[in-house]
């Protein structure tokens, strides 16, 4: 098992390195001049060149990628150009390892940006995950157990409709009607636990989390239903029934455990994807999470931020994959030996 983890981690690190390189190459392959972008509309060629140097964009892409890798492992000082650093030592910012870069546009290291935005996204993702897993699995089980009945058809139908709704639509309805028009819930505004306590944190997260969870939940209801039905047709469920176990015990101990494996995989990967930012939900509710950070960085051609968030998102997916594989081994003893 240990060897397995080590193998997977090594593979993951290699993937991350390759991915960061690809991101660099793609960034500079685009016809847009990032320096022009950073410089603004009224920009003389001289200022543009200065901006380019300040951002370090004059170097070849591979060179910059090397600097980035060095930053990850050793940390860096900004501005990148030594001449500029000497000229204005008061502006030099040190970015300790692992340094994702320095965003001149935000006048902050990318690490600081992420550190600010990540808790928001994380809170949102965890809350949503709990909601959709509990709701999706429970409703999915109910649908499977009442297969063919009115309840089942209702649940499947509703989940199909909800699944078809775009996230922003659900988000806007919740915001505009539930919160603003009817005043059923305070307009959400992210407050950290440190600022407002656990209750305020939770209550402000509720509407956005529900928005996120609804779409996922719709998918999970249908998925759970299918997996539970499949597990229910297994021979070992017939054995469990033949022992005289109660319905509930057969469901919880035997059926669900069998149906759990694929759900865990899906949930792990969905969660990892969300950690990189729930873009639409964050925009609708104006939460300054990673999703918003990513979109803003892309709009302003802010390479350091783009690279930082891409690598972070990829790390989440890779780590989630490893964790899911480990969970497999916990769930299924047949995997353990292999």
């Amino acid at each position: 098992m240990f060897a397995f983890i080590v193998r997977r981690v090594i593979a993951g690190v290699i993937m991350l390195i390759v991915m960061s390189l690809v991101t660099f190459l793609l960034f500079f392959a685009s016809p847009v001049d990032p320096a022009q972008f950073a410089c603004g509309k009224n920009c003389s060629p001289a200022i543009k060149e200065q901006t380019r140097k300040a951002l370090g964009y004059q170097k070849p892409a591979v060179e910059q990628w090397k600097d980035f890798m060095v930053g990850i492992f050793k940390g860096r000082d900004y501005p990148d150009d030594p001449a500029l650093r000497k000229a204005a030592p008061q502006l030099v910012a040190h970015c300790p390892a692992p340094c994702f870069g320095y965003s001149v546009l935000n006048s902050k290291t990318v690490n600081e940006e992420i550190k600010r935005a990540f808790p928001i996204t994380l809170s949102l993702a965890v809350f949503a995950l709990i909601l959709w897993l509990l709701g999706g699995v429970a409703l999915g089980c109910i649908a499977a157990l009442t297969k063919g009945s009115f309840i089942d058809r209702g649940l499947v139908g509703i989940s199909l409709v909800l699944y078809a709704f775009p996230t922003f639509f659900i988000g806007l309805i919740l915001l505009k009607f539930v919160s603003i028009k009817w005043g059923l819930w305070d307009k959400p505004e992210y407050t950290s636990i440190a600022d407002g306590g656990v209750f305020s944190w939770l209550s402000n997260l509720f509407l956005p989390a529900v928005t996120l969870a609804v779409v996922f939940m719709a998918a999970y209801v249908r998925m759970t239903r299918a997996f539970v039905l499949e597990a229910m047709s297994e021979d070992y469920i017939r054995t469990a029934n033949a022992k005289g176990l109660s319905k509930g015990r057969v469901l919880v101990k035997h059926t669900l455990r069998g149906a759990l494996t694929p759900i865990v995989t899906m949930a792990g990967l969905d969660f990892a994807g969300l950690l990189a930012g729930a873009i639409i939900t964050e925009y609708v509710f104006n939460f300054n999470g990673l999703g918003k950070l990513v979109v803003d960085a892309n709009r302003t051609y802010d390479l350091p931020t783009i690279i930082g968030t891409v690598v972070l998102a990829a790390t989440f997916v890779i780590v989630a994959n490893i964790v899911v594989d480990l969970l497999y081994a916990v769930i299924d003893p047949r995997v353990r030996v292999a």
């Binding site: 060897a3 080590v6 193998r7 292999a338």
Partner: protein
Amino acid sequence: MSATAEETPSAAPSTTPGNPILEVENLRMYFPVKSSGLVRRTVGHVQAVDGVSFQVEKGTSLGLVGESGCGKSTTGRMVTRLYQPTGGAIRFEGKDIAQTKPGDLKPIRREIQMIFQDPYTSLNPRHTVGAIVGAPLAIHKVVPRDKILPRVQELLEVVGLNPEHYNRYPHEFSGGQRQRIGIARSLTLQPKLLVADEPVSALDVSIQAQVVNLLQDVQKEFGISFLFIAHDLAIVRHFCPEVAVMYLGKIVEIADRDTLYERPHHPYTQALLSAVPDVKQAAIGGRRERIRLQGDVPSPINPPSGCRFRTRCQFAQEICAKVEPPLLQIGPRHKVACHFAGELGAHPATPVTMDVCGVDAQGSPVPGATPVEQLNKPGFDDRWYDLKTQQFTGR
């Protein structure tokens, strides 16, 4: 039901010894076992098939029986070259195809075809029967495109299906009918050798007989040779004039069917035969006395030294652990791999293989004695080792 060594005239054409269509010599298939460590090294091998030799004569059938995991299916897959053997030779009409490159296998595929066990999963559910049966014709371009359909219909008729049903899908047929489709498919290219891997074991009893009869008709009509792999001893006996018994990757006994079923000399063959439930027992009631095998088949990753059956054999002695018993010919068409080979209840007290292997009764090498070389040859010799006289004799 006389027990003479002469073949009773059977459904198959009379055998002409020394005219093999398929000759398999010392065939081996080792599947690597990978370690779970940081670097995935090969730490061992599953010796699925380890040194198997046999002959299939033109127009006849050789049965390969044994329990699950004995390597009989792996052998079949090597003969059809679905697997590349680790070692040994597969001579089809005199040409060794054991190491032929995958790209050069196409002509061999025309000559050697396979019938699979499960008629439910071995037919593509999205193809019509006509497409399934006609595909080999199209792939090998043996007949013009417009002649494929008439040929397919002809084949469907041969296997007893309605030729008008060529445009139906496999799910519209019952299990027995599907197996007929599989047989039609295998016959399309008029192969010379058919490898039938458990062709009837997935079918209902009343249907099994239909398919067995069909295979016999096909054999008679087209003169096809069969390598018939099955675990059902009665069906193999019915179909094959010659039968080989496998245990843990090796042939332990091979003989013509009357000898094998009436005078088996290997303790495993005897146990296997005695375990088959018998309908006639009903007249007497209760259960017969049988040879009870204890425990399970050992792992093929680390098989027992010497004789692989010794861990479950009631006659096993020291020599069995030390020396691997050779597949020794003890009759005109009878070979057995056992140090204590003998008829049921008449196993000798001393090893019969001492001279042949050049060892003493405990299995230690006798100085000066030279073992008889290379006994693991396919087919049968004119000379054999007579167990009674302990001498080589001949016809």
